[in-house]
Amino acid sequence: MNKISHGQELFLSRLRRHRIFVCTARVLILILFLILWEACANTGIIDSFIFSSPSRIVLCFWEMVLDGSIFLHIGITLYETIASFLLVTLLSILSAVLLWCSRKLSEILEPYLVVLNSLPQSALAPLLIVWLGATPVTIIVAGMSVAIFGSIMNLYTSFITVDQEKIKLIYTLHGTRRHALFKVVLPSSIPAVISNMKVNIGLCLVGVVIGEFLAARNGLGYLIIYSSQVFKMNWLLMSIVLLCIMAMALYAVIGVVEKLYMKRF
């Protein structure tokens, strides 16, 4: 290792102090918020029946862990989200490749894609339920419907913005359009695919929760709707917290995939 100069050392330690300060502040805000919430609920400043409290939420969670029911709800939502995410990823790559292969097709379909993408897709969910019935398949499709159109457009854009000179190189090496696709377009779009996946995982979760609101007997979305109807605010808030954690975890998984990819290249 090189010897670090005094100035550099000073800079590094200042940076480290800055980071520690930011992290501590973040954690403190959360703790403070939880304590305040708990205290207000216990002293009756806010109505604990409506606003619940951290301890009640944890207790409620623990009860559901003991009777095992929470695992069913988390599992279903997780399964549906991952299924719709994988399908969206696969289908949007395939569609984008198809559009890339035929300029005519992509030009013909462009306005339809734009309309379908700018439509608030949650409006489609009731329609899907009528058409497909209230089954997990419907919910997976609802999750897909939120992400797929934007995903196709993003990927297609990244496919056609590949450096034309690189494609010309393939032709100078006597390659065909298929070679251009597999040797240039797809490999150089992998970063775009990954950042697209990051967006999609969140959108799929939104779509799945909306689907569960409307047509489910299980899952966190169902739990939210059900508990709001019977006024079990502990359940409701717990479900929201669980959704937050789930969203963060799924996002982190894709972050890990990205890191692995970056390390390979």
């Binding site: 010309k168 393939i170 006597h174 040797k183």
Partner: protein, 255 residues
């Protein structure tokens, strides 16, 4: 002897919504086997267009191109085309970049791999075979791109300003270096360049094009009376200035 390449009255125009760009007009010339020819011309006159036509990437609007006496077939495997930028892919190692052409042409045999290794060794890239292209210097990248082209064993090499992305110092050494490699390989070569001294120091003949639509202003044969006819010796020979000025005047007198 049959010419390696023959162009007969080639014309080409680009058509876009904004109108027509007449790029090439009635170009005819031929290259003898093993000959090294340079093409110079004002920027935007149609030099790259000329190479793309010869490489078979586009079809001429009129005129014929013959390769070894036969009409040019689309994407002939006898032609190697080196573009202005090396376009080494960052997601492949240098070694796999070099093998890209063989991969595409399904000729990825142990012999080709062996040949790739030999060439990498010869051109001083052996150490970097497993590195990413970004770890190479500009000159090394250009050499890797040359190996990629040479592995397809083309009979005719087309070079489109292959050194223009390099800084002046590197460019001198790399162009001399690569010029010698090509000469020793005995391949017919057609080099497009902006740099008149590069044209004079490397080639047997210089084709001077006019402004767009490009036609041939003149073809200047370049011969040096030297014991060791290397690009560097040429640059120091007395004839160098004469040729340089002659071509320079030809380029500028149609103002």
């Amino acid at each position: 002897m049959k010419p390696s390449l023959e162009l007969n009255d080639i014309s080409y125009s680009y058509h876009t919504l904004d109108g027509e760009t007449h790029a090439l007009s009635n170009i005819s010339f031929s290259l003898a086997p093993g000959e090294f020819t340079a093409v110079v011309g004002p920027s935007g006159c149609g030099k790259s267009t000329l190479l793309s036509l010869i490489a078979g990437l586009m079809k001429p609007e009129s005129g014929q191109i013959y390769l070894n006496g036969e009409p040019l077939t689309e994407n002939s495997s006898k032609i190697g085309y080196m573009l202005q930028h090396d376009h080494l892919f960052e997601w492949r190692t240098v070694y796999r970049n070099v093998l890209l052409g063989a991969e595409i042409n399904k000729t990825l045999t142990p012999e080709i791999k062996e040949k790739a290794n030999v060439l990498l060794e010869q051109y001083g890239l052996k150490r970097f075979a497993r590195s990413k292209p970004s770890e190479l210097s500009g000159g090394m990248r250009q050499r890797a791109a040359l190996i990629r082209t040479l592995l397809l064993e083309p009979e005719l090499l087309l070079l489109d300003e292959p050194f223009s992305a390099l800084d002046y110092q590197t460019r001198l050494t790399v162009s001399d270096d690569i010029g010698q490699i090509i000469r020793r390989s005995g391949k017919t070569a057609l080099l497009v360049t902006h740099d008149l001294s590069e044209a004079v120091s490397l080639s047997d003949r210089v084709i001077v094009l006019t402004r767009r639509p490009a036609s041939i202003a003149r073809i200047v044969p370049v011969t040096f009376d030297l014991d060791k006819d290397t690009p560097l010796n040429r640059r120091n020979a007395p004839e160098f200035k004469t040729y340089f000025n002659e071509i320079w005047k030809e380029l500028n007198h149609d103002e």
